[in-house]
């Protein structure tokens, strides 16, 4: 679906992008879109940070080719998106718990979206970024800036010693997800996993994760998984 860029704020390494779709597309926190610029051949997955009516917003780390092109967009340009795809947090998690949200870099996006939709399920939030560059486009007091705090998000949460009854919702790099899994043994942890994707809809078998029930596709069976069910070392 072609949609119009209606808002754009960026720093050198981050981009906050607002687009307007032609019809209303409801997005559950944790779902993602396959996104590309118009002259690009293959789309790539991006979670949503905010959606209301026809407006969808993304928080994007500018790391390479496609994200570099997205950064160059101007208001009024068009991009192609399709989705939303994947199983959201709410479809996967135990709704009787409250959760600490841990975002790593732009992995924070779907968690902020979650907080926005389900504040009652949120115990606390930590959005970790290495530097304070993000502050000029992201306005929340829940940011954890590594270089300011001097300790990692995980270290910080450990010190706060959360009750065994709270769970974690995590989204970020694989290393961060592994660290949460190791540091918070005995806690319920749900993570939104990353993968290089082809189709985004479960047919190309491009984004596997080994689970207790065999190989699953992150795009279709996830991206949100109960960490106790997946093998992150495969």
């Amino acid at each position: 679906m072609k949609c119009k860029v209606i808002g754009k704020e960026n720093t050198e390494n981050y981009l906050f992008l607002s687009v307007e779709t032609s019809e209303i597309i409801n997005v559950l926190p944790g779902q993602f879109f396959m996104v590309k610029t118009e002259d690009y051949d293959f789309p790539k997955p991006f979670s949503v940070i905010f959606q209301k009516g026809k407006v969808i917003e993304f928080l994007i780390a500018v790391v390479g080719d496609l994200t570099g092109r997205l950064k160059k967009l101007k208001i009024g340009d068009f991009i192609d998106i399709r989705g939303p795809y994947g199983k959201s947090f709410i479809e996967t998690i135990d709704k009787n718990k409250k959760y600490i949200l841990i975002g790593g870099d732009c992995g924070s996006a779907p968690l902020m979206h979650f907080k926005n939709e389900y504040p009652e399920l949120v115990e606390n939030e930590y959005y970790g970024f290495r530097t304070n560059e993000i502050k000029s486009i992201l306005d929340t007091d829940k940011l954890h800036i590594d270089e300011e705090e001097g300790i990692s998000v995980i270290e910080r949460i450990k010190r706060e010693n959360p009750s065994k009854n709270t769970g974690f919702l995590v989204c970020g790099s694989l290393n961060m997800i592994k660290a949460v899994k190791n540091e918070f043994k005995g806690y319920k942890v749900y993570a939104s996993l990353e993968a290089r994707m082809g189709c985004g809809v479960g047919m190309c078998k491009g984004c596997p994760i080994k689970t207790k029930d065999g190989i699953k596709m992150i795009c279709k069976d996830g991206p949100v998984f109960d960490l106790s069910e997946v093998d992150l070392e495969w």
């Binding site: 051949d41 290089r196 047919m203 190309c204 491009g206 994760i209």
Partner: protein, 296 residues
């Protein structure tokens, strides 16, 4: 509109084996019955869990994949997928793979009574034939496989090949064995290295290269085989992303045109291409453009 091996195709567009899975996911996004045909993902005798991630790498104008033929194996395929495929009102092609000749023959027997219209033997599996070389590049192996497959198969037999030095000879062997057609091309091998780590991004290093980047190579290959085999049915594929691409393949000698990476990048692409082809064929005649690049 297109008739090969006595089979009518509504239009020349089929889904290539692999990127479209076994159709159940794709059916959520498009009406498969509008397709000329649908090729299921290669099925093997036993379940294969496939390669560990990452399986996909983006490169300029293309993608490398290292899926490792993940598939449920023939038993689960029959249980979970075949009914769905048989229920489709389009021509289904079943792609089969294995480690040795007997695997292919067994799979044909298991699937012989399905409503699928063609068996496509995927010879580019990392399989090793009698002569110690992979089946897909072994003249004698191809001849004897095709010959025996033809004996037992109730459906036409196609073989799928990649770009090879002596491709004409391989096709010639298959033709002698009685093959009904060839599918060209399976993806060339490609590599991408992450210069930050110094390692190939794919665990197996090298993966299959598909998408617009390979189109000129795929077209040259279809053209090259068409020049030698004027009447052999050819399913052409490699980087088809637009209806103009499809027309190029037909002009180069492809009877049918397969879409692989194209459906993966956009599930609606095949339907859009079919719509544009419909307009095109209102003013152009399929028979006239078919093979036309070879004349004169």
């Amino acid at each position: 509109m297109v008739n090969i091996c006595g089979i009518e195709f509504k239009n020349p567009i089929i889904i290539a084996s692999g990127p479209g899975g076994n159709g159940q996911e794709l059916a959520k996004y498009i009406d498969l019955n509008k397709l000329g045909g649908f090729t299921a993902k290669t099925v093997t005798p036993d379940e294969k869990e496939g390669n560990p991630p990452p399986r996909i790498v983006n490169v300029k104008a293309g993608i490398l994949n290292s899926i490792g033929l993940q598939n449920p194996g023939i038993d689960k395929f029959i249980e979970d997928d075949l009914n769905f495929l048989d229920s489709l009102d389009t021509n289904v092609i079943l792609s089969i793979g294995g480690d040795k000749k007997e695997d292919y023959l067994n799979l044909i027997e298991r699937l012989n009574d399905s409503k699928a219209v063609i068996f496509e033997l995927n010879l580019s599996c990392p399989n090793v034939g009698k002569n110690g070389i992979p089946l897909g590049i072994d003249k004698e192996g191809i001849y004897s496989l095709v010959k025996e497959a033809k004996k037992i198969s109730k459906k036409p037999i196609f073989i799928k090949l990649g770009v090879e030095t002596f491709l004409e000879d391989l096709v010639e062997s298959a033709v002698k064995g009685g093959v009904d057609g060839v599918t060209l091309i399976n993806s060339p091998k490609g590599l991408k290295i992450d210069i930050n780590t110094g390692k190939p991004i794919l665990k197996r290093a090298v993966g299959g290269f598909s998408g617009p980047a390979i189109k000129p190579i795929a077209l040259a290959t279809v053209y090259r085989i068409r020049k030698v085999f004027r009447d052999l049915p050819i399913i052409g594929m490699g980087g088809v992303f637009t209806f103009e691409d499809a027309i190029e393949f037909i002009m180069a000698g492809a009877n049918l045109v397969g879409i692989g990476a194209g459906v993966m990048s956009d599930p609606e692409r095949p339907i859009n291409i079919i719509k544009e082809l419909e307009e095109y064929f209102k003013v152009h005649d399929y028979q006239k453009i078919f093979n036309c690049a070879l004349e004169g």
